[in-house]
Symmetry: C2
Subunit: 427 residues, 2 copies
């Protein structure tokens, strides 16, 4: 073969970014691939838009691209399940290698697709699905492969990290910063996928499936977004030496894998606490390597295009030497634990009646639920109310939830205003 031929499905910002990179850096990319490379077809829904590629490459007939016998690699950049899934299946069944940036599809159907690709000796790469241009998936598959991963924690959604960073730096409220982020193009008009944590959930599903070598389905990952984080909680976090981040966390416990996405208080000196704005980062702890952190721009046409092109180069090399599909798909069934089994630390903020017995009643409930306290702060509010903030020692999630329900039900507690899980050490 003299040349590898690529067909692209979908030509939004990432498609244009990847295409531009393939053109701008063509000589270097071909030299590194060891073989020529040509984009021969681009499938889009709307033929009338002005686009950054020659008009004659475009077609509305996406099916024809995945069937085209001259095409070796399909680059899927449509996103979502339908029609991306059936197009990738068709591409594999026609013997084509696949590169995709589709986090929802890989999170939900990645295992079936990986097995199918492997059984046909085809590469299915998806580095761009998590963390934009940051090398993450492949380092977990390759350089870190000798490790049992013990824990991974990531800031994998740039929109929420931007919002939380702004709230922290400027002391402003969630709604206000969200609107500003929407106006600036950092958040979608329909922001739920980002701010409610689903984007991070898909990405954690993908990362933890690779890291732990088995399927961690997205619907098994308890997920909370950042809507309930207020300026007041961010202030308290600061005062106590923490920063609040939306973290995707997965860890290997004796009983199974515990994975979760939620706002988290991190000590200010933790490396993830210093990842600001639209940057993403994933921190991994392996049994031999210790802790490693990989960070960079988690989104955008060019960073994501960079990951896509890296995948294409690898597939070209493999085609050249006849060495595709070297990595086995994850096999093991993993037992995914309920969040009730989590043991961690908590921050909690209560509004209470300013009465003599308050502390005794609250302390009694914590004591009965076996929740130790390591810090407390109390102040008077107006109208006979007071505010109490607690940091707990390690305790069981279900005890904490039970304690909160009991606190909310007592007369002396006007309101459990908020609570946030706390990650203490870098271990």
């Amino acid at each position: 073969m003299d040349k590898v031929r690529v067909g692209i499905l979908g030509f939004g910002t990432v498609g244009e970014g990847a295409y531009r990179m393939l053109m701008d850096n063509q000589a270097a990319i071909e030299s590194k691939s060891g073989i020529g490379l040509e984009v021969v077809r681009i499938g889009v829904r709307d033929m009338d838009r002005e686009r950054g590629a020659p008009r004659e490459l475009f077609t509305r007939d996406l099916e024809s691209i995945v069937r085209d016998p001259d095409i070796d690699i399909i680059l899927e950049l449509i996103g979502g399940l339908d029609p991306a899934e059936s197009l990738i299946e068709a591409a594999l069944s026609h013997g084509k290698h696949v590169v995709t940036a589709n986090k929802e599809l890989i999170a939900k159907q990645g295992h079936a697709l990986m097995r199918r690709a492997a059984s046909q000796g085809l590469d299915l790469h998806f580095e761009a699905a998590v963390g934009g241009g940051i090398p993450l998936i492949q380092p977990l598959k390759h350089q870190l492969a000798g490790n049992d991963v013990l824990k991974l924690m990531g800031i994998v959604n740039g929109t929420t990290n931007y919002i939380l960073s702004k709230m922290t730096q400027e002391g402003r409220a969630f709604d206000e910063v969200l609107q500003e982020a929407q106006a600036a193009g950092y958040a979608e008009a329909e922001p739920s996928s980002d701010v409610d944590g689903f984007d991070a959930q898909y990405k954690l599903s993908i990362l933890s499936s690779i890291a732990f070598g088995g399927e961690v389905r997205p619907e098994k990952i308890p997920t909370e977004g950042i809507r309930r984080i207020g300026a007041r909680d961010i202030d308290f976090a600061k005062m106590l030496g923490y920063r609040i981040k939306l973290l995707a966390i997965a860890e290997l416990l004796p009983e199974g894998i515990l994975a979760r996405v939620h706002p988290t208080m991190l000590p200010r000196q933790h490396p993830l606490a210093n990842v600001h704005g639209v940057y993403n980062a994933v921190w991994v702890k392996g049994d031999f390597v210790g802790d490693v952190m990989l960070s960079g721009r988690g989104a955008g046409a060019f960073p994501t295009g960079s990951a896509v092109v890296g995948d294409i180069i690898d597939i070209c090399r493999n085609i050249r030497i006849g060495g595709s599909a070297s990595v086995q798909p994850p096999q093991e069934g993993l037992y995914v634990l309920s969040i009730d089994q989590l043991r961690t630390r908590y921050y909690m903020r209560l509004t209470v009646q300013d009465r003599p017995k308050v502390l005794g009643i609250i302390a009694g409930i914590f004591g009965e639920e076996e929740i130790g306290l390591r810090a407390m702060e109390m102040r008077e509010l107006n109208d006979g109310l007071g505010e109490i903030v607690f940091l707990t020692h390690l305790c069981q999630e279900q005890n904490l939830q039970r304690a909160m329900a009991r606190l909310a039900a007592t007369e002396v507690v006007a309101c459990v205003e908020n609570w946030v899980r706390v990650e203490e050490e870098s271990e």
Copy 2:
């Protein structure tokens, strides 16, 4: 083939770390490799030492290992040039894949060895040569391969980072902290390779050769260590909002590659400024990916063992599918610039005579050398002397050097106490 057989040359801490990892995580490693894996021979100089592997594996006859027709992969962990180089050459000529952690050998002879391995369809991997267990070499070869790398900066020597971190945190002198580091095992009894920058020079030679796709020979990298950094400079750096780090820097300029190793003042908020103690990190800026940072433990038996085992797993996969040597060795000849062509910013500290004309004379020299100043601080010392600290704007290295020589020669300057290059932005 049912099984891949590994022969190890040298069994120091990294060898023991890698062997322990292969044993402890054997099932997972074989599942990821898709093939069985066995260490069949270990070559050492001293047979009498107690070691963490079965006695019958050991031999003093290293030559017999690289010739053994039953062995598929040679893991070279002797270090240095002799006999490592001739053993690796012999291994390649006997058709064996090679994994090495030998930074000196790869820096000095890596290109010849890579070409030789590629021409025989063999893998030569050396992830462990830089940054211990941090994925660095392979991400540059693979996930970032589509980028023209514009600049890379790394903290690649843990000993000097430990010493500078201690000096910064505790306000102590270099000699004192070095002695303590030696006692604690963080620095060698003969510390020159670390504190004079040669270890970092080898590593930068390797990283920049891969990043820029051509040979950057170590002897072409101007290298300065940290011996001349005093507690007083660290204090001034802190006061001005900087931290001093030993950085390995390489950048792509219109005229060629400029690579250098020296103590550098970095703004406190730069991600590399927050890499402390024995941690290493490499920050890479690519034309499409933007900036990416990879960090972790840069040394130690287990982290380095982790990188070695990752390389072995990859080679096993390639052997299984018959797809070795997919990555072409770097080809291009690179033009490596002299440090005279550097344009950067500088910190400078002078002891001067406390006389009225001092500032005018100094300002005159800076003006004639086209060096603009953006900050200055002056204070009285005893005995009719004063101290002046400058931060310059961007200027040419050769002008700065000339200005320093001229300053040292004037009567009003008692001494050019110190100077440090400053990296200003993260771009």
